[in-house]
Amino acid sequence: MRSGPFRRLFAAALLVLAGMPAGAAELVVIVSAKNPVNGLRADQVAAIFLGQSVRFPDGLEAVPLDQPLGSQLRDEFYERVAGKSPALLKAHWSKMVFTGRGQPPREVPDSAAVRRRVAENPELIGYIERGALDGSVRPVLVVR
């Protein structure tokens, strides 16, 4: 029933994704190894990064860190976790900033810097390439 051109298109898209470089295909959402949170759903992560939620599920305050504006990692993260293109994300933060509801997450230069800061502070949450993972941080969501 679900065969036909649509399904073939979907299969082709998957193939394209599988063929992409590992760094572009898979990113992980991380918290400090000191943070007791084990896993988060995509909607929980999206809510924290969009300024709609201010705590981890266990009650600890959550402070998101962003990759630089225009970076491929950042665009993919928001596209997959929140369904937002760079333009829609900009529109979202325009609404938040110009009504006084919040400021966008602080930007950090690259994955290594995100990992370093997150490792130090249990309140921080960030996203990095899977290849940049180490024992100082804990992955709580794999974004494909």
Partner: protein, 419 residues
């Protein structure tokens, strides 16, 4: 409590200004996140509007001196504006914000006005209290209606949003964030007052403005319901009502019924926005009521669009109707001396001219938004605007040739940006 609220706005407004002047003098470095520092951001729209109606000006707000159509065939005044915002964060709990907006006002100048200026105390990560001039969180988009970049259209549908020309109030508010399962909510309670200088020498005041607004986000779905009530007073029509009062008890009764003198105004709205990214659907309905010449209205709109790469074509249908009578027979003229009858007929005519300002209008619009850069969007929109049932709808500066019921074809182009 009452006394404090009556006196705080003026004092509070000077607080952020003082903080900002200190900071600018000190040359603090810009940062965001949790450290102290200040952030400058801004928004703007450059727009041009053409209307086929030559006997009235098309406008999106009654607080404008003119629009497109009668005064100028092409007008930049309908949508053009520039806004700048300075945010200052002292620590995790205290912050302040000042937003200035320059746009055409009733005095035909672009003199910048303080859109809002408030001090925010983040009592807990969930609870924020603000003091000062605060954006009114009515409708889906009323609090960011001046930020064209933030919504898909050239302007929010004038039929609903035009019923609330005020965008801010001076007072206090409290916003509480809370979750119910996967639904994230923000509930906002506000109390304040508002003063608007109308065409000189007229003024409008809203006092004891109290309202509550709740926004719920569940994935791609966002819902907002809000109610607001305030006591409004204005000297609009006061000369006419003085003349009615002088005409005896029946005239005084008409004056009491229609004059905007300490009359309770209520506005309620409910709206939804479903936006999974590839497309969006927005639906919203509102009611407003005042026992005065402002009348009672119901409005609704529906809008949908699809996102095709950088282009977002969209459609809007929108309507506002009066839910109470918009004509009044006024005082009887039968049996009066011809001179008196003419005078009374003139009063009755004046009253019905005022009642014709209660908006009744439908609009069908189609447009496209082009996200041409990371922080800029170009929009083209065509509106088919029909005021009806004797109302002027969202038209101002009517010439004698204006006829309610005639459709105006309105074309708009805007460039929106944020920085």
């Amino acid at each position: 409590m009452q006394v404090m609220l009556q006196h705080t706005p003026g004092r509070l407004l000077s607080l952020p200004l003082f903080a900002f002047s200190l900071l600018i003098g000190g040359g603090a470095c810009a940062q965001d996140g949790k450290e102290p520092g200040w952030t400058l951001s801004g928004f703007g729209t450059i727009g041009a509007v053409h209307s086929s109606e030559r006997n009235a000006d098309y406008t999106a707000s009654v607080l404008k001196a003119d629009g497109a159509g009668a005064t100028h065939r092409w007008s930049a005044n309908v949508d053009s504006r520039l806004g700048a915002q300075l945010d200052y964060r002292l620590d995790r709990r205290w912050s302040a914000v000042l937003q200035m907006v320059s746009e055409q006002g009733l005095d035909n100048s672009y003199r910048p006005r303080i859109e809002w200026a408030n001090v925010k105390f983040q009592a807990t990560p969930e609870l924020a209290l603000r003091f000062g001039r605060i954006a009114l969180p009515m409708f889906l988009a009323a609090d960011y209606r001046k930020v064209g970049y933030a919504y898909p259209w050239v302007r929010p549908p004038v039929e609903g949003y035009g019923t609330l020309p005020f965008t801010s109030s001076d007072g206090v508010d409290a916003t509480l964030r809370w979750s119910a399962g996967r639904v994230r909510n923000a509930s906002q309670l506000f109390y304040g007052r508002e003063h608007v200088a109308l065409a000189a020498p007229l003024h409008a005041y809203a006092r004891g403005v109290v309202g509550i607004s709740n926004t719920s986000d569940w994935g791609a779905l966002s819902l907002r319901a809000s109610v607001m009530s305030g006591e409004v007073t204005s000297d609009v029509g006061s000369a006419l009502f003085d003349a009615f009062e002088a005409a005896g008890p029946a005239g005084a009764a008409i004056a009491r019924r229609y004059e905007i003198d300490h009359k309770r105004a209520r506005i309620a709205s409910i709206g939804m926005n479903y936006d999974p990214g590839q497309w969006f659907l927005m639906l919203e309905a509102s009611r407003s009521r005042t026992a005065s010449l402002l009348g009672a209205t119901r409005s609704a709109y529906a809008s949908a669009g699809v996102r095709l790469h950088a282009f977002t074509p969209y459609l809007v249908v929108s309507r506002v109707r009066a839910s109470e009578a918009t004509r009044d027979d006024g005082l009887p003229t039968a049996g009066l001396a011809p001179a008196d009858a003419a005078r009374i007929a003139q009063l009755n005519g004046g009253l019905n001219l005022l009642l014709a300002t209660i908006p009744q209008q439908t609009t069908q619009a189609a447009g496209v938004r082009w996200d041409l850069a990371a922080n800029a969007a170009l929009k083209l929109q065509y509106d088919r605007v029909t005021p009806h049932h004797g109302s002027r709808g969202s038209m101002i500066n009517l010439a004698p040739g204006f006829r309610s019921g005639r459709t105006a074809h309105v074309a708009s182009v805007t460039l929106d940006f944020v920085y």
